[in-house]
């Protein structure tokens, strides 16, 4: 029942925001970077549904364009973190021994830093740009993926079907790929959705701090940063990107919960 509600709210939210990002690839009402001195700081109207900013750029166009940038970055980040984390997690969890100890020690050290702080440090080294955000956030999120996947593998490798695979004469690599990895998919999927939300938030935070995607390209984070000076005179400037970030997080988290309930075998038994 609750799972249904999560799905009913989460899926349309994510679909709408994702659809907006897709549309922005092909079309936006105005050019997202087209300035117009005459139309500076205009309140929402029929021409500009969400108003204009301090350079007269259309906020709706920038929100849409920002969505595609944010989602692209978040998607790439999640892919990097999940791929790297799953690979390391499965390997250490299955092989155990010294590999496991050394990798997990490094992993725990990385986990001790707050993710955004770690990403911030990497961004300072790499310089701003989409590629470096993906690298920085991907690296920052990998340790938590490693932790979760390794835990899952540790419990799976004690199952008798993994032993049966050894008895059949299968190699370790084959056993990992055929019997352990597929049974990790459910928790990884759920983790990926929640990471996606975090990545959107972190990318916005980095951009807000001026370390993300540099202007004039639009992201929700740098729009929020730029709107700070006009908070009192032009509230719509901060309201629109702020709301978008909040709605994305809400939608992704609800979807993640729904997925978890759906993928949990104990739930699917009902």
């Amino acid at each position: 029942m609750r799972a249904r509600l999560n799905l009913v709210i989460g899926l349309p939210l994510v679909a709408a925001l994702g659809g907006m990002a897709l549309v922005a690839l092909a079309w936006t009402p105005y050019g997202p970077t087209a300035t117009s001195i005459r139309n500076r700081l205009k309140a929402p109207s029929s021409q500009h549904w969400l108003g204009t900013d301090e350079f007269g750029r259309d906020v709706l166009s920038r929100i849409m364009d920002g969505a595609s940038v944010s989602f692209r970055v978040a998607l790439a980040t999640v892919l990097v973190a999940i791929l790297a984390g799953t690979l390391i997690g499965v390997a250490t969890g299955y092989l155990r021994g010294w590999t496991d100890r050394v990798v997990m020690m490094v992993n725990d050290a990385l986990l001790a830093f707050p993710g955004v702080l770690l990403a911030l440090a990497i961004m300072v080294v790499l310089g701003p740009g989409e590629g470096s955000i993906v690298a920085a956030l991907g690296l920052a999120y990998t340790p938590s993926v490693v932790r979760i996947v390794r835990g899952q593998v540790l419990s799976l490798r004690e199952r008798e079907y993994v032993e049966a695979s050894r008895m059949i004469g299968n190699s370790d690599l084959y056993t990992m790929a055929r019997h352990i990895l597929p049974n990790c998919i459910a928790p990884i999927t759920v983790l990926a959705t929640s990471l996606f939300g975090w990545a959107v938030l972190s990318e916005s935070a980095l951009s807000f701090l001026g370390l993300g995607v540099p202007p004039p390209a639009a992201t929700w984070g740098n729009m929020l940063a730029a709107s700070r000076s006009y908070m009192e005179s032009a509230a719509w400037l901060s309201l629109a990107p702020g709301l978008c970030i909040a709605l994305t997080l809400l939608g992704v988290n609800l979807l993640g919960d729904a997925l978890r309930d759906r993928l949990d075998p104990r739930m699917s038994l009902r």
Partner: protein, 542 residues
């Protein structure tokens, strides 16, 4: 024999899921004061749900549709939850099936035992403690003082079930509901715990509702029995009459499913053994605790064993006797520390090539059919997987082999299913098919039927013997259940504390046991001896 006012009367009880699926239909029975009534049935027969309805602990999603439950003439089924709570403990006690999870791991034994007393009796703390100690002594706990401050994980399954029993009996309930109380225990412990339970109940005038699928236990402990199938009462009556002359077809099937000794020809003179184990030692590294490493435990301690071609050798022993470890070490799943192993006259672990060839000829059937199959693979993929390592088979031949093997185990047409769509017995058939699809010469079967119901057990055992006849593999059959072993083994090795204490032909072991431990095991095995002298416990008139 029947008292006019029984302790418990269940009238026309019907249970169903919220979606309307019937679980128990129109069940009526009575339990007299101090009597032992057994409810017998297979999984899914509704026996556990019926018992849970009595104590008012139905899981969410199951509701009582009709019927009344009367305890001493009062309809407890109509009482509100708070009144029921006051009744649980002093009125109704329950011992659960799984001793490993029915005690709270974060509480000391003392705290858990005291909980019930503090709730239902007005007693000083010292009085509570004294009663706990007294009861622990009664259930045979060695150092009761120490036990009170210990945590559940420090005890074995049998000990935990004793502790569970002690904490339930502390409140002297009028009715004790025991739901498969010994299914998770080995034969010897089973007898100890049940003897204790029945003895305690008799002393306190407690009646017992014993829920089990094991007819041997019923014959030994219950004066009256009801048989349930698919939520309905099939047959009821005095145990001895019911088991010696069952009227209904289902009861007859249950009685027939009990493993029996089939006449075996005496072992033909054989050539050299196929597998030879000499002075095998396997050591479990001590569990690491926070500050020190515990002493390593010798699980297998100097075992020697021969297995001839086409022979079934059973290894029998209680839990912790090292029998499972022995089987796993022979297959190389755990390393052995000392001793020699030879297969066809050569050490199978000497070289990589030898190990490989051994793995291809030896297979294992695991105990738990619920964890031995990959949940994300279809049955045919599971059975086909071992053929990856038989390169001379073409894809078409492999497919035909898989089909033929599924046919062999009676699962024709099940290839497209996933494990969760199969019952426990069907899953174990898949596991057997996977082990046999490569036509191995040697199979280790680790308690392959102990997780199954009696009738299913009989079917799987019959299948296993038929396949062994057809394909002629040799087998090391590991079990704690002598009844199962009696039905299929050629020779038996009895293990205790990591050593083989007695080896012999099956009939010799059963008819002329030499070692005391073998005799104790035989004595403890629940059997359906229906001779007039059978000591069926009479209910004491209360």
């Amino acid at each position: 024999m029947r008292a006019p006012d029984p302790l418990l009367r269940v009238e026309g009880l019907s249970l169903a899921t919220r979606s309307g699926l019937p679980i128990v239909e129109d069940l009526s029975f009575r339990v007299d004061r101090g009597a032992v009534l057994a409810i017998v049935g297979e999984s899914g027969s509704g026996k556990t749900m019926a018992a849970r309805a009595v104590i008012g602990l139905l899981p969410p999603g199951v509701v009582r549709r009709a019927g009344r439950i009367l305890l001493e003439g009062a309809a407890i089924s109509e009482q509100p939850e708070p009144a029921l709570r006051a009744l649980r403990g002093p009125g109704l006690g329950m011992v659960f099936q799984e001793p490993m999870v029915s005690l709270n791991p974060a509480m000391t034994i003392g705290a858990q035992m005291a909980e019930g007393l503090a709730l239902h009796r007005r007693l000083e703390r010292s009085a509570i403690r004294a009663r706990c100690l007294d009861m622990l002594r009664r259930v045979g706990i060695g150092e009761p003082e120490r036990c009170l401050s210990a945590y559940p994980h420090e005890f074995s399954g049998g000990m935990r079930q004793r502790i569970m029993l002690a904490s339930v009996m502390l409140l002297e309930p009028k009715l004790l509901i025991a739901d498969e109380p010994t299914t998770a225990l080995d034969t010897l412990t089973q007898k100890d715990v049940l003897d204790l339970m029945v003895g305690l109940a008799r002393d306190h005038g407690t009646a017992i509702l014993l829920i089990t699928h094991n007819l041997g236990l019923v014959a030994r402990y219950a004066a009256d029995t009801i048989v349930m199938e698919k939520g309905r009462l099939v047959e009821a009556g005095a145990t001895r009459a019911l088991l010696s002359a069952p009227r209904e077809a289902y009861t007859k099937a249950l009685v027939a499913a009990l493993p029996r000794r089939t006449p075996h020809p005496p072992p033909a003179p054989r050539g050299a053994p196929m597998l030879t184990v000499r002075d095998f030692v396997v050591t479990h590294p001590g569990a690491r605790s926070l500050f020190r490493r515990r002493v390593p435990k010798r699980a297998v301690d100097g075992v020697s064993l021969d297995v001839h071609p086409r022979e079934i050798v059973a290894v029998v022993g209680g839990s912790g006797s090292g029998k499972t470890t022995l089987g796993r070490a022979i297959l190389g799943l755990v390393p052995h520390e000392a001793g020699t192993l030879s297969f066809d006259g050569a050490d199978p672990f000497a070289t990589r090539a030898a190990r490989r060839s051994f793995v291809l000829q030896a297979q294992m059937v695991f105990q738990d059919p619920y964890s031995s199959l990959d949940p994300r693979m279809r049955v045919e993929a599971i059975v086909r997987e071992p053929l990856r390592h038989v390169p001379e088979l073409t894809a078409g031949e492999a497919a035909r082999r898989v089909e033929a093997t599924l046919d062999d185990v009676g699962l024709r047409g099940f290839g497209r299913r996933y494990p969760h769509e199969l019952s426990g017995g069907q899953r174990q058939r898949v596991a057997i098919a996977r082990a046999l699809v490569r036509r191995p010469r040697f199979v280790v079967a680790d308690e392959p039927v102990s997780a199954l119901d009696m009738t299913i057990q009989a079917q799987v055992l019959a299948l296993f013997t038929a396949l062994q006849d057809a394909y002629g593999f040799a087998c090391l059959f590991i079990s704690h259940d002598l009844a199962v072993v009696e039905a299929i083994a050629d020779r038996i090795a009895v293990m205790q504390d990591g050593r083989v204490v007695e080896t012999g032909h099956r009939d010799d072991i059963f008819d002329r046991p030499r070692h005391a431990y073998t005799r104790a095991l035989l004595e403890a095995a629940p059997r359906l001896d229906l001779a007039p002298s059978t000591p069926v416990l009479k209910p004491s008139a209360a």
